[in-house]
């Protein structure tokens, strides 16, 4: 180990920063859209100038669910790969830039059609609602761009392995590659429906579309998508946080095993988003429910590993008693505090997920605002707070600056603001959802229905939470802009933890990609072959496109 700060190469840093720049721009715009939604839904406010609630909702979902996440993740992973396996080759870096521009052009294109009201189809774009072809083409470019960047990471990783035969690859590189393999395999589904079904249909080349097939291909992608968001947060938790607090990683091999389990089980599970649909037999739904429960296991492992990391560190500092170690943690360090709060929120978030996926229990919550509350805990709190926490060292590391004490204090406040805002918003969403309030709906009393009137206090609480969260967005933008352009020059560490125990032989076996990818394919074939054949063979007449907004 060298004591000098190991730096991401300046040119690689530029590539990573370009991604982060787009990500935080998306956060600013998408966050504002979110504020407007909560205000409309309270029933106390109407959008001016005839702007549609659903245009704003589409903007919010696409910018935050797809753009913020994908750009941040790819930027972060480029930095992580460069930091742990060495400067990218000129070829890999150029490929990375090609990916970046494809994604950026695609984003701009989709955003144009959304904002001009030609694609108010929400970020799930379920056919037969038919958006302008440009919206789908833009999305396809984003996906293709992400593949190009993925290949840049794969070739870089392959080169490292060739030069270091018989060695275990650095944890962050291994995890980044796992996440990109997951992404590549799952985006094949959404690419298939967009390129082969929706683009020809929206261009008028085909008249009709198989609605259920399109939805099934979307959800083949839609669930691993959320793991694509979550895994980079887990990377920070496993590989960075132990170093930030001054401790060691609990177990390198178990972290790798968890990632392989995510790779295997996060894809063949899309039916748990389609539990209440016609055209899919309950047997196959249940098969995928069982597979969904398998993907809970690596999160149970992660929970243990995190507590163990914290406890081991606390005890090494002389903590005693059952929970004395909690007091030894660096609560005033935002690089720790923000991801830690994210971890805490993952407890209700993950629990909600188990409930959602529980076969017929889904009838209680499906398409209610409970679900919106659920993913605002998972992605919009756990993942996003971890990304914020990572930004506090990643951005100054990449820009050659240091975070000041004042900014650190602001970041602590930001985290608290986020936690409070989300407790109000997501908490009331969960309760209103149990009472039946639907998601993705503008304010309505459904003809003064007694049930709908019960939801209004919760909807007002959501607006209060949404407003607090918007303050949180302003704070994070202030911090990020400071770190990128105004913070004092200096060197910031890209923290990477050491494992508590030496590498185990098992870690090497976990890099047997042929085996894992073979298993992934096998599981997908088991879960999907029969139902997809059913969907195609027993298909009803297809649907024409509708523009109902």
């Amino acid at each position: 180990m060298t004591t000098a700060v190991e730096k991401v190469n300046r040119r690689d840093a530029k590539l990573a920063l370009a991604h982060l720049f787009v990500a935080f721009t998306a956060l600013a715009l998408g966050g504002f859209a979110g504020l407007l939604q909560t205000l409309v839904r309270s029933g106390k406010f109407e959008l001016p100038a005839g702007i549609s609630y659903y245009t704003i909702l589409t903007t919010h979902g696409v910018l935050l669910g797809l753009v913020l996440t994908t750009f941040f993740i790819i930027g972060f992973q480029f930095a992580a790969v460069s930091r742990t396996t060495g400067t990218l080759s000129d070829g890999s870096r150029r490929t990375g830039w090609v990916g970046f521009w494809l994604m950026t052009i695609g984003t701009a294109m989709s955003a144009f059609f959304i904002l001009t009201g030609k694609a108010s189809v929400l970020y799930t774009f379920y056919a037969p609602l038919q958006a302008h072809a440009g919206f789908y083409i833009g999305l396809a470019l984003v996906v293709v761009g992400s593949w190009v960047s993925g290949f840049a990471m794969f070739t870089h990783y392959a080169r490292w392995r060739k030069a270091h035969r018989g060695q275990v690859s650095p944890l962050l590189a291994f995890m980044s590659v796992t996440n990109m393999v997951l992404w590549l395999v799952c985006t094949l589904g959404v690419a298939a429906t967009v390129v082969f079904q929706l683009i020809p249909w929206s261009l008028g080349l085909t008249d009709r579309v198989n609605v259920l097939l399109s939805r099934t291909l979307f959800w083949y992608f839609g669930h691993p998508l959320v793991y694509f968001w979550l895994l980079p947060a887990y990377m920070v938790w496993y590989a960075v946080i132990p170093k930030v607090i001054g401790g060691k990683m609990f177990s390198d091999s178990l972290a790798r095993l968890a990632f392989i389990l995510f790779l295997l089980f996060s894809i063949p599970v899309g039916f748990h988003h389609q539990l209440l649909e016609p055209g899919i037999s309950p047997f196959w739904k249940y098969v995928q429910v069982v597979l969904t429960f398998m993907v809970i296991i690596p999160s149970l492992m992660t929970a243990f590993a995190m507590f163990a990391t914290f406890e081991s560190y606390g005890r090494s500092q002389g903590a005693t008693g059952l929970f004395g170690w909690l007091r030894k943690l660096p609560w005033s360090d935002a690089r720790f505090f923000a991801p830690f709060v994210g971890m805490l929120f993952f407890i209700p978030a993950g629990t909600g997920g188990i409930i959602n996926a529980s076969h017929q229990l889904n009838q209680v919550v499906h398409n209610t605002i409970w679900v919106t509350g659920h993913f605002h805990l998972t992605v919009a709190t756990t993942v996003v707070l971890t990304f914020f926490g990572a930004s506090y060292w990643l951005i100054p590391h990449l820009t050659g600056r240091v975070m000041t004490k004042a900014m650190n204090r602001l970041a602590i406040i930001q985290t608290i603001v986020w936690a409070v805002g989300m407790t109000f918003m997501s908490g009331s969403m969960h309760f209103a959802g149990l009472l039946g309030a639907p998601r993705r709906s503008a304010f309505s009393t459904y003809g003064n229905s007694p049930q709908a009137l019960e939801w209004i206090p919760y909807q007002i609480a959501q607006a209060v939470g949404g407003t607090i969260l918007f303050i949180g967005i302003i704070l994070i933008l202030v911090i990020v802009i400071n770190l990128a352009f105004f913070a004092p020059k200096g060197e910031t560490e890209f923290p990477i933890a050491e494992a508590a125990a030496p590498y185990e032989r098992a870690a090497l076996a976990l890099e047997n990609w042929k085996l894992w990818i073979g298993l992934v394919v096998a599981l997908i074939l088991i879960a999907y072959t029969v139902p997809i054949i059913d969907i195609i063979q027993n298909a009803p007449p297809g649907s024409k496109g509708y523009k109902l907004w």
Binding site: F323, T351, I354, L361
Partner: protein, 48 residues
Amino acid sequence: MAKPTTAVRQTKKDEEPALKGTLASVFLLGFFIIFAWVSVYFLFLHRL
């Protein structure tokens, strides 16, 4: 899984690090999951 051999692992005090607090924490988490799941399950049954 086989017990690890003591020769390979060398920690200062004993073979296994002290993780009582961790065990307690994950079990609290587990009880929360059970409580929430059972609550919604009963809501489902109540509405049958």
